[in-house]
């Protein structure tokens, strides 16, 4: 099932940010595959960051001994303090085919971002060409991000354990010159049924 995450507030070819109002159990989740329609294409990304903007009023309320539930609900649902979700672009779909490369155009403001259902996540992760688009971001927790995505992808298919073994082989190829990093990543994607 597709769930709306929020609307685009800032975008570039490689990353975009989405504003949403409340955290729900299903969204937004670190490492989740998400998508947004851009003209005839669907642009895919991984949620790499979820942050709440600073607000002096929230700080003041947080310091109180007693906070009424109505205050909490008001601050979370009504006040214009959006939760900002950062998304790393990892590919796009054109004419039905999934491409693990940067899209020609980024989404525009207020476009809606959706989560990808399990079937689509499994389809997107059939190949591992997008690994490079994730691992090359030294300013992000790229290893954690990819590991989280791979764990979700494993859960989305029946042969999850074998999927992770294949993913590990691809990582070994990409990170052959950085064994410490490879070791850390492989530990993070170890299968646990």
């Amino acid at each position: 099932m597709e769930i709306q995450v929020g609307r685009i507030i800032r975008s570039s070819t490689t990353r975009f940010a989405v504003g949403c109002r409340v955290l729900r159990p299903e969204v937004p989740v670190f490492g989740a595959l998400v998508k947004v329609q851009v003209l005839d294409d669907e642009v895919y990304g991984l949620i790499h960051d979820v942050r709440m903007e600073d607000d002096p009023y929230v700080r003041q309320i947080a310091a109180l001994d007693e906070v009424r539930p109505e205050y909490i609900e008001d601050q979370r649902r009504n006040r214009q303090v959006p939760i900002e979700v950062g998304v790393l672009v990892v590919g796009y779909r054109r004419n039905g085919a999934i491409l693990h490369r940067l899209p020609p155009q980024p989404p525009t403001s207020l476009d809606v971002l959706y989560t990808c259902p399990s079937q689509e996540l499994a389809e997107f992760t059939e190949r591992f060409d997008y690994f490079r688009l994730v691992l090359d971001n030294s300013d992000l927790p790229a290893d954690e991000l990819l590991a989280a995505n791979l764990r979700y992808a494993a859960e989305a298919r029946e042969d999850g354990e074998y999927f992770l073994v294949d993913a590990g082989r691809e990582l070994a190829r990409l990170l052959a010159l950085d064994l410490v990093r490879l070791d850390g990543l492989l530990r993070r994607i170890r299968w646990s049924a």
């Binding site: 009023y57 003041q60 109180l64 009424r68 109505e70 609900e73 008001d74 649902r77 009504n78 006040r79």
Partner: protein
Amino acid sequence: MTLELNKVTPQIDHMGHVLAGRAAHQGRVLPAAQALLHAFAEAQGELCLVAESEPGQRLRCASPGDERLDGAYPTPALPDKVTIVAADGSQIYPDRHGIAFYYAINIGSIVFRHGSAQAPEVSTEPKLCYTDDELYPGGAPVSGDLVGAERTLAEMRALAQVTLAEPDGGPPRLALGDGPLLIWLQRADLPQGRQERILADYLDCLDRLRIGGATVSGFVSRPHSAEVVALLYLAQLEPSARQQVKSLAETEYRGLTDRALFSDLNPGERSALFVRGTAANLDFRDRGHTVYFFYLNTGLDLARVEVPEWIARDPKRLDLAHAAVYDQCRCNNGYPYVLTRADELAVILGEEREALEGMIMQALARHDLALPELSRKAQQKQAARWRRRR
């Protein structure tokens, strides 16, 4: 050039000296004023005569209610469920140097269901005013005073409308306004007839709230009035001496406020009820809405809470206003939560005004009007101040 702080340093130093002297003076006279409060605590009849006398009217003295003047009334129990409604407004004043001559009023309102654990309902109601009647009432360009009065009326209308939309048989309802309940239109530069219409509409709202069974109050933060102080000062004088007093500022009680007088109240306690002493209260009295007030220790501040007569004379609803306002302040730094939020909803930020004026410019262009621009004066000011804004 900018504000050369070195040139104001001596003035600042002198200002500190003056303020310290004023504080010391008030510290000296306050015990005497508080002693008068106790001395006249049960002299309601005598004080009423003083307030109604010519000097009492001149000094805008408050009148006592039925309670002991020096009474401190603890916070009553708050019902488990109460619906608290607040409304506040902001405006863009008309500016003949702007891109177009218009003004705007934005009203924010909140319905806070105490005890429900639900998120409050919030809404805003913006109104753009640009018709000839709105901009040139009585033929002259609209003034800031009139915009302020229209905003006050819009706040009360929203308060009444939103409060009365809540079911009568549900939890008790409190409509809480920001500022005095008693509006003061006489000083405003309002065209003929407009003042009467605004007042009549405002009082109509109070009528509707009374008929609808709601509780109403106005919250005045850090009040500066001295209506009770003036009453006590006059009361201690011989009747002949009272005639000589032209203003409280000429007496040793200058600068002493009611807020200081009631500074002994403990958190949650309210003072006795008094009747506002300004002449405008006569208009309210004629419609059965004589405005009363009490002082309330909100926990971190002393505020004035105003209620109409039909609340002042109804102990149950007076208790509701007292308890609910204090509860709102208790968890919000001494100021009602709903008023903080109503203000936040209503306020028109600079960037919002810029966006609005961008849309106005586009609308004018679509109607083949020359692209509007700021007046030469505004343009030059903007250019010259550019560096200062960086």
